[in-house]
Symmetry: C2
Subunit: 336 residues, 2 copies
């Protein structure tokens, strides 16, 4: 098919080893030959075969990222910054989307192993411990989001959900809200449970009874259903915290359809500060977590782990910051 290193070597009148050394900048080649080879490469339009290169060097110089749903506006920015940083560090990056499906999660992890990645950033919760062990056995560096403890090859990116949730509850409480509902994600996910617990704990800190918890699906549709449900409750909560922005936008739509005004009758908050939060109307009070930082940190963490001879997983901390917009306001006066 394409050209091989042998073609280039022949055309330049040198050995394949020399061509390889030139392309890899090992500095073992004299300046004359170097120029000659580079010229020949350009002239022929040669590109080295990545597969052969990876195979021969026993190093894929590839980093993987597994996300649950690329359509979720949380992820594209993370992916982009991950990929950008990986490239800066000299890695190739591959992406897998699991669509929240355990089977596809397994396939994604297998794909990473087949590609012999040096490290993989796992940004989905539904991954079996078996797979994780498998990755560890092969000494593949891993970063998790929130869940899983730090170990040799495992670093952790801790988004400060707790702090974010705390800030929301505090703000809502200060605004006079007392019945604050929570729209969670999918019931079984560890990350989801952690957030629910954070919510409950923060509520109790202010002497509030954790209020109805409704499960969504982290998507718009789940939020919509939850909003419709909340609108019919009596007594109705005066504020709704959603587990992410997408859900919050759905909640708002559901509430509006159910005849509630936002924020006059009921305040809604999101989480993540996706662009959506800015665009939607009313624009969304939410918690910003630096997604670009997240992707970059993941790449850096994997780089560090996979380079060190004696890798020591670390915990990276991603701060959360409350962003006030138009979807929240003071609690309505009680009618009673």
């Amino acid at each position: 098919m394409g050209l091989t290193i042998r073609d280039v070597a022949k055309a330049a009148g040198v050995s394949t080893a020399t061509v390889s050394n030139v392309l890899n900048k090992t500095g073992k080649v004299g300046p004359r030959t170097n120029r000659l080879v580079l010229l020949t490469v350009k002239r022929l339009g040669y590109f080295p075969n990545a597969h052969a290169r990876h195979l021969a060097s026993r190093d894929s110089r590839t980093l993987g990222i597994i996300v649950s749903d690329i359509v979720n506006p949380f992820f594209p920015e993370v992916i982009k910054s991950f990929e950008t940083r990986a490239r800066q560090l000299g890695y190739d990056a591959i992406l897998s989307d699991t669509n929240y499906d355990p089977r596809r999660t397994r396939e994604a992890a297998e794909r990473m192993m087949e590609h012999n990645v040096r490290g993989v950033a796992i940004m989905t919760s539904e991954i079996s411990s078996q797979l994780i062990q498998e990755l560890e056995r092969r000494r593949i560096a891993v970063t998790f989001l929130d869940l899983a403890p730090v170990r040799g090859y495992v670093s952790k990116l801790r988004i400060d959900y707790f702090s974010g949730i705390k800030q929301i509850v505090e703000y809502l409480h200060k605004s006079g809200h007392r019945r604050i509902a929570f729209i969670a994600g999918r019931p079984k996910l560890k990350s989801n449970i952690a957030r629910m617990e954070a919510y409950e704990s923060c509520m109790r800190d202010w002497g509030l009874e954790p209020g109805p918890i409704v499960h969504g699906d982290l998507r718009y549709e789940g939020g919509l259903a939850a909003g419709l449900h909340i609108a019919k409750l009596s007594p109705r909560p005066t504020a709704v915290m959603a587990v992410n922005d997408l859900t919050a936008v759905g909640v708002i739509k559901g509430l509006l359809k159910g005849g509630c005004r936002v924020p006059e009758d009921i305040s809604v908050t999101g989480f993540d500060n996706t662009r959506l939060a800015e665009y939607c109307n009313p624009s969304l009070t939410t918690v910003d977590i630096h997604r670009d930082m997240l992707g970059q940190m993941a790449a850096d963490a994997l780089h560090e782990l996979s380079c060190s001879a004696n890798p020591q997983g670390r915990e990276y901390h991603i701060p959360a910051e409350l962003i006030l917009r138009d979807s929240s306001g003071p609690a309505p006066a009680e009618k009673s």
Copy 2:
């Protein structure tokens, strides 16, 4: 590092060829041995090395997709359906984001060549004809969005922009609008020019004078600036067509900031029908093009091209459909 096919062969007491034949389901292996090998593979936790496999088989079974900006909500769905379909067809998929940067576009194309992809879906406009020739020379199947003529290895996915724009103009005209502005994308892009021409042509069809045309950047920011600009014009257009939803959302925000009401004073339309159009407020009148269809078609087209011995590029057609929402309405009565 990891296990090799030799380890599996040894453990099962067969040759490596047999293991390979089992894994590739060539049907050359008896049922007893087949089961034995499969069992051994499971037991040892073996995964074949993709690089070695691709190299030896001289076939990467990989499809690539190059997009200009993964953060643009137009793309994630396209990518997702592309990837899903590619997997169904037995391909691995790799993604590159060019960030609208010619250098990165070049790098992306090079990456595709290095990975020896069978085909690549190019969903960005700024690609040099040199690169395209390079791809053609290597007999890599290609699909383009809109631009470029169909050739041997090149298929084209034609989004019916013209029809979409025509529908919008027709609708706006019928609603009484006479001064209809257009917010374009980046001036130099071919795709952008095509759309501007479509706009001008459709306007003339209704006896309307095109203009003003303001250039944006296909993003929110560009739309915002354009909206602020339009708000100050006199006479002010009564309707604004934006080149995509993201821009339209920016335009709306800009107009609101500039003191215009949407849609009472001025109607705004988008293009693409991203989820954003549904979420934003006022929800956006826009044109739907089936993005999931697009990704799937791209994968199908590449599959077809790369499999056929004598490939014949085709044109695929993606219909456009006007979606009426709340950002548009009848033209305001003239004050004069």
